[in-house]
Structures are given as C-alpha cells and as structure tokens.
C-alpha cells in the first residue's frame, strides 16, 4: 500500500480549512438584506427586560419594552414637557380611554373615577383568541389585569401601586393570601384558589366600554398609577394559554408586537414589528414652546407607529454601545459619564464641534432623582430630634460640598438642590435653594454648630460609620466626603459593601450614615415624601427611620388632597421640616444626555415614560 506523502496531507488539510472558512464567509450575512421597511436600531443600556408580563415588571428596562407592546389607560404627553408639574392632568392624556377620567368625590369620603374605553382597541392577533384574531378590549380586561396584581402567583410585586386605594381590593387580595404561621396559629388553613370572578366592591362595570372605579378615599397617586406600565391591560385568554410563559409571549394592544419568541434573545436583542391592526392613533399636535421650536411637530397627524420595526440591542458594557453609536449601528445613545467629554464641552454642556458638524442631535433629560447621604434617626449619636443631635447633622450637611461632587464625579451635569423633591415636581425649591437650607460648604457655620453641640472641632465625637455600596466611583466619592468632613474635625469610617449588605445594614438600623438614592416612581412629590412617613420606617422605604407626628399628619393630608396651591404649600412645609431636621445630606438629581444621529426624526427622549418609540421616525434617504 502506498502512503501519501505527508506534505500532500498537510496541504489537503490546509486547503480544507481555507475552503471551510471561505464557505462560512460566503454564508455569512455580511450585508443585511434590505426589506424596504423603515426601522431603527435602538439601545437599551442593560441586559434588557426579564419578563414582558406587566404584572412581573418592575425595572425601567422592563418598562422600556413592555410599554411598546402593552398599553395603559393614560399615557404621558410626548411633547408636553412643562417646567413644573402639579397634577397628572398637566402631562397625561388618554391612551386606551376615549376621554380623560371623570373624578367625583362622594359625601362619605370615597372617590369615584369614571372611565370610558375607546371603542376601536383590539388585542394583537394571537393563537390564544378564537381564529387567532385579536378581540376588542373591554371593561372586564381592565378589572382582570388589575386583579392580577393581587394574585399571589405574581408575588404581589406590583400590588403596592393599588394598595390601600381601590375599595374592596385589599380585602379581595387578603382573601386569597397565604396566612403565615404564628405561635397562636402554627398551621393556618391553606387559602382558597384565586378566583378572578370574585367581586371587588370598587370595580363597577357600566358597559363593555364604561366602568367606574371607587377609591376608598381620594388618592392623588391613582392618576399617575394608571399611566404606569405595571397596570397595562392584558388579555385573559393570553394569560390562561401561556401561563408562566406569558413573559415571553406578550399579547397586548400596543403599537408593536413580538412576532415570534425567537425575536427576543434575552440579554442580546429584540425585534419588535409594527402592529398591523393598530388603531388610528396620531402623532401629537400639542407641544410646549421649546418642543415646537425644535420642529418636533413636523409629523403631527401622522398615523402611529411611524416605524415598521424597531430593533432593540441590550448593552451591558458601555464601550461597546458607544462604539456602535460611532459606527452608526444604533440610532441614539445614552451618553455614559466617561464619554461625556468626548461629545460635550464640559463647561458649556454643548456638543463639541465635531459632533455638531456631523449633525448629531443632543437632548438633556432630567431624572426624578433624589441622591442623598442618609442618617439613621434612631442612632444614639447622630439620630434624634433634640437640639444637640440636630446640630451635629446640620454641621455635617454644611461641611459636605455637593457642588464639588457634581463637578468632580458627574461632569457638573447634576442638579444640586435642597430637600427631597427633585425638579420639576411640585415643592421643588426655587432655583433649588430652600429658605432654611443647610447646604454646604459653609465651614464656619458648620464648626459653630458642632461646637454648640458639644464637639468643638469634632473633639469627642466618635468616628461615624458610613455605609455605601461598592461600584462605579463610590470609593472616590467617599474619599472626598472623608476629606470634606475632616475639615471640621469629623471622622468617617467608610464601609464599602455590596448593595445587598447595604440594604441589610439599613433595614436592621445598623448604618449610622449611608449613601443612597431614590428614583421617583411617578412625578408627584408624595412619592418622595413617603420616604419620611413613620409607617414606612425600616425595613420600609423610610430608611432614616424619620418619625415626626406633625410630618405624618401633613403627609396623610396630601395623599388625599387635590393638587393646588394649598397642597403645594403643605408640601413645602413638609420639605422645610425635613430640611431643618436633616435626616439626610442632599440632594442631587442626575441629568442624562442622549445623542442621536441626524437620520433619526422626532427625537425627544424621556425617562419618565418610555412608550415614545412609536413617535420615532427615520429619514430613509439619509446615510445609515
């Protein structure tokens, strides 16, 4: 038998390998096939949503996708961005409703919200419906969707939105809740199976398109809640057909659909297509002056959505997202802090010449942030409401230089303000400065207060344990705080911990002082003032364990009060009360900067709501 020469075998192997590579290259979709559809690739700066079921969603990343597919009764007006917001009516408009809800107060303190659904809303076509044809939205769908939030199957993740609000809903929830064993009842009976047919006193059906919701009392929050994606309307048929997998198989009424489950690659990307049966919903013709000047009304009256397809890419590493924007692979980008100075002149916050010459569009989006350093008001050294301890906290507040933090760590783009209410909410102090401000740096005053508290130059004051989470530039920020407080003789002992450990320390009231942040769930100051309500003390959201009966009394007033000057005045009173007591050092709100390529039209991002993808358009003739 003849052996083939070795060199020949090597050559064959090499040729084979090269052939395989060429074949793979030939098969490789190097040039995407053009489908003639108008589409935009948009980034989501995270690994994307975890579930597309509104009842399970909680993060803004869930929101960004869910609200393209599902819809709520109300929505935010896209082009109405007022400088201050007092009521949900200032910025909301009907989405699934034919008109704004009619609200009437009853003599017994209850409040009735009368809703009228649009007559032309249909669910997406889906196999869960007879013949695969989406049926018309009806009153029962609203009741069903909201009852789901009370279903223990969904672990009450979003029940807080409706808690203590709708007449009979809390009782309905309790009826089906698992009772926890206790010493007196070690083996409680199991709850009955959840029954969606069981009545809720506050849900009153008038017809298939009209219904009333009776609130236990006037709840201002409710007007905001019905715009939140967690209260989106789902189809019972879809929930029953897809069960646990509804999160991957959404069936809504929104402008976009997830055609196939394979169009969502978790952690990677998602393709949403235009809902071919979407009702006639038009691009808005109402706008605030700034938005008018920006030419954002050019598409007014056009049928939504304007794009045939949106391709969402989920980015966890910022550099990759940034590079893809440079390569024009994505239409817009949220500017990561480390790239701010590539795109903007730090001093003026204007685009660099290179970017503006290239027609890049820029938008600054203020966030409803409350970034602060909190105190445990039950701490024996720093807590309490007596003069001595209050002065220590006031001194600390006066020693911290938030403007320096803003310049050093946030490129100077944050809004520094007094109190817990960020702009543009009702109660935000004029120019961010409250009349009784304890905002630093004012070292002279800080030293005076410290001396009056019995700790001249900090002598005799023990080291303060300061808990803050690791990550980002927290270590550097903490060093700045140590230095700033050292100027008045106060020593910080930093505890850089994981976020879960930070939460644990706060919940167990172990953290004397802690770095934290709060993002408002809806633009009403009540949401932020709830952080100081004594019934919310740790492990609730009142991480400071702030407990002042007069504050509580005012809080209970504002949650049921109609927006107006009287309510605003009480809110300001509460804000100033908190500022004087200094349960936190603060505050800051971030501003997020977005960039978009010139081919993207109607670009007006927001992080208060995310269903604005339907308004986006592209200039198909522009280079991509």
């Amino acid at each position: 038998m003849m052996r083939r020469p070795r060199s020949s075998t090597t050559c064959s192997l090499l040729a084979g390998a090269v052939g395989l590579l060429v074949a793979m290259l030939a098969l490789s979709p190097v040039a995407a096939q053009s489908t003639g559809e108008k589409f935009a690739r948009l980034p989501i700066r995270s690994d994307g949503p975890k579930s597309l079921d509104p009842a399970k969603g909680s993060t803004s990343y869930d929101n960004q996708v869910v609200c393209q597919i599902y819809e709520t009764l109300l929505q935010y007006k896209y082009l109405v961005r007022p400088d201050s917001v007092t009521s949900y009516e200032d910025v909301s408009e009907p989405l699934l409703l034919a008109e704004m809800p009619k609200v009437s107060d009853e003599a017994d303190g209850k409040q009735v919200w009368k809703f009228k659904l649009r007559d032309d809303v249909f669910f997406h076509d889906d196999a869960c419906f007879p013949g695969g044809k989406g049926r018309k939205l009806a009153t029962d769908d609203v009741f069903y969707s909201w009852k789901r939030l009370a279903d223990p199957k969904y672990e009450y993740e979003n029940y807080w939105l409706l808690q203590d609000t709708i007449l009979g809903l809390d009782e309905f929830k309790e009826k089906f809740a698992t009772r926890q064993p206790s010493k007196s009842e070690p083996n409680p009976p199991p709850p009955p199976p959840f029954d969606y047919a069981a009545p809720v006193e506050g849900f009153r059906k008038l017809s298939d398109t009209e219904f009333e919701v009776i609130l236990k009392k006037s709840v201002v929050r409710f007007g905001w809640v019905i715009s939140m994606f967690q209260t989106s309307i789902v189809a019972r048929e879809a929930v029953e057909k897809y069960g646990d997998t509804l999160g991957k198989h959404p069936v809504g009424t929104g402008p976009f659909i997830l055609k196939n489950e394979s169009d969502w690659k978790p952690g990677q990307n998602m393709i949403l297509h235009r809902n071919p049966n979407y009702r006639t919903e038009l691009y808005p013709s109402e706008a605030t002056p700034k938005e008018k000047e920006q030419g954002l009304l050019a598409s007014a009256g056009q049928k939504l959505p304007l794009l045939d397809r949106i391709e969402l890419t989920f980015y966890t590493p910022d550099p990759v997202m940034w590079q893809d924007f440079q390569d024009r692979k994505i239409a817009l980008v949220q500017v990561p802090a480390e790239y701010f100075e590539k795109a903007f002149v730090k001093r003026t916050k204007r685009l660099t010449k290179e970017y503006s010459d290239n027609g890049i569009q820029a938008e600054a989006v203020p966030l409803l942030d409350f970034i602060f350093r909190g105190f445990n008001m039950e701490d024996p050294i720093l807590g309490g409401y007596d003069e001595k301890r209050t002065k220590i906290r006031q001194a600390i507040s006066l020693a911290v230089d938030l403007d320096e933090h803003n310049d050093t760590f946030y490129n100077g783009i944050n809004v520094v303000y007094d109190g817990p209410i960020p702009p543009p909410l009702d109660g935000f102090p004029k120019n961010g400065k409250a009349p009784n401000s304890f905002r630093g740096p004012n070292l002279r005053k800080a030293r005076e207060l410290l001396a009056e508290a019995g700790y001249p130059e900090g002598r005799g004051l023990p080291e303060i344990e300061y808990y803050t989470s690791k990550g980002s530039n927290q270590a550097e920020q903490t060093q700045a705080e140590i230095r700033q407080l050292a100027r008045i003789g106060i020593r910080l002992n930093p505890k850089m911990v994981d976020f879960s450990e930070l939460i644990e320390a706060i919940n167990q009231k172990k953290a004397q002082m802690f770095g934290f942040a709060w993002g408002s769930d809806y633009p009403d100051p009540e949401n932020n003032l709830a952080l100081f309500y004594s019934r919310n003390k740790a492990p609730g959201a009142n991480h400071y364990n702030y407990d002042r009966p007069e504050f509580d009394k005012l809080y209970e007033q504002i949650i049921v009060m109609k927006p107006g000057p009287e309510r605003t005045s009480i809110i300001e009173q509460m804000r100033d009360m908190v500022i004087a007591d200094v349960p936190f050092v603060g505050s800051m709100a971030r501003t997020r900067f977005y960039l978009a390529h010139p081919f993207l039209k109607n670009f007006k991002p927001s992080e208060d709501f995310y269903n604005w993808f339907k308004y986006l358009d592209v200039d198909a003739s522009a280079p991509r």
Binding site: S28, S51, E155, T178, T316, D324
Partner: protein, 351 residues
Amino acid sequence: MWSYVARRLLYSIPVYLGIILIMMGALRLRDPVSAYLGKNATAETALLKKASMGLDRPFLPIGIEDPAEPFGIEPIVEVGRVGFYPPLRTQYVEFLWRILRFDFGTAERPYRSWQFESDNVGAKLADAVWPTLKITIPALVLTATIAILVGLLSAAYRGSVLDKTLMVLVVLGMSISVVVFIVLGQVFGSSWLNGKLGFELFASNGYEPGIQNWVKYCALPVIIGVVVGMGYDARFYRAVMVEETSRDYITTAVAKGAPRHKIIFVHMLKNAMIPVITRIMITIPFLITGSIVMEYQFRIPGMGKLLIDAIVNKDFPIIQTFTAVLAGLFILTNILTDVLYALVDPRVRLA
C-alpha cells in the same frame, strides 16, 4: 480500568456532597431573597419568593428547634421541640435529588430562573452552552496546537533567536490585559477593518446562532482568546520540553542518529504528554463555563455571561445550579485525566 473509574466515582461522591453542602451554605449566608428583591420589596413578596424556591424550608433535616419559627412548616413527627422533616423536603436533599436526576426544570415541574421567570434554569444553561463552546473549543484547539508547537521549537532551539523571539511574542500576548485586546479588536479588528472592507467581516459585539454566522461573531473572540491564552501554555510546554531534552532517551536517540524532527515530534512530544494532557484537561470545565470577560465584552450569550448576569442580578437558582454543575465537571474531569494518563503512559497504573 473500569473498576478504577467506578472506584474513583464512588470516592468522589462524599467530596461532591461536601462541595454542594458548603456551596449551598455559603449562598445562604446572606438572605438571597432580600438581595434579589432589593430596596422596595414588601415582606409578603419576600415570603412568597422564599416559598417559591423552598427557602422557607429547613436547609438540613436536623437541628430544627421550633417548627413554627422560623420555617413555618408542619413537622411530621415532633419530639419535644425537635421536629423531624422528611429529607426530600429539606433544601439540601431536594437539590441533590434534582442534581441526581439532572432535573433543572421542565414544563411540568418548573425550576425557574429568578430574573427570567418564564425560563427554567436547565433551559437557560442549555441555551448558553453552545455559544460558549463555539468560542472555547476552537480557542482551545488552536491555543493548544500552537502552544505545543512553540514549546517544542523553543525547547529544541533553546537560547536561539527563534526561541527568544517566540517567547517575547507569547509573553507579550499574556502580559497585556485581555480587555485591551478586546478593545483593540473591536476598534481595529471590527470597526476600522469593516470600514476598509466595506462590509462587516467581524462584528464588534453580539451573537447570532448558526454556523454561517461563526466568522462574523465568533472569530474575533477566538483570535483574542488564542493570543492571550497562548503565552501561559507555550511557556509551560517549553519548560516541560526543556526538561525532556535532558533525558537519557533523547541522548540515546541523538547518539543513534535519529533525525532532529523525529526526536522533537515523536520521542519528545510523546514523553511529554502527561503534563500536556493535564494542562489541557484542567481547562475542560472552562470550555463549558466560558470566559466571563470575553463573553461580557462581546455580548455573547454564553455560560460566562449567564453567570456574571446571574451574579449581578442575584439570580440565586442560576448561581446555585451553575456552581453545582461546575463542581461536578471538575470532579469528572479529574477522573478522566487520570484515565488518560494511563492510556498515554503505560507506566501509570490505575491501581
């Protein structure tokens, strides 16, 4: 040999049980539910989440002092204040039973990821394996082949310019952070190159299944993996080969006039196979687990990215299962390595 394998497997059982016990205990040092739910979770939500994962049940079937507090389940037998629980209802035994059946969730018996509540843990792991293997297997084969070749040549020509040049190159590869290579790869190997070519040869990030997409999405990570990984391997293989060059059998072969290439590629390579195999075998579990940095930076939905995402999002079921699978793989790989020793070197006995 089979009796040896059976014996090793048997000996490994207590080791594995111990690993799982320690791992599960460690994961429960801090409450996984409050870590996952974050700052605004209600106590009710936390209890339901705990119950969904069985975290409200005893960890071990021993040492329960009060059945109602804190676990709140009914004991089958109560002796004084000590309750006896059916072992299968305890977290440890239940999880072992799951591993034994390799049951990480089915449509009938779901075992859900916490972050992706529509997905079973098993399905998430299965989905992540292939993208990882598409990177790690080519990278391992190429790295090992090139590194062995470099090691052999460097050892054979020790001290020469060739040796020094090869070593400088491979050390350069391993001395620079993989992140730098990734960034350079994305900027020059993808953006710049694609701009020059006029089409997208290598994607800077992302992943699409299908062999036809391999070059676009996987080639760049593989190339970077080889460049970074080769230094460690080549230096190791060189050291092994250098040691072999001073052996008597090499002297004998030279004395008998065997050709140089035969000495290097036949005699030396064959006798150096044990450390080579060890080196390759210890990387096998990592073929499955993937490279966290590479997958994260290239957004490849493999096992490494799954793990890091699970850690970031406190996805307890994924972390627990992933760790258990990884531990099992290590044990199996160790046994396989020992068996391979015997196959390549008759002097090694499987006693």
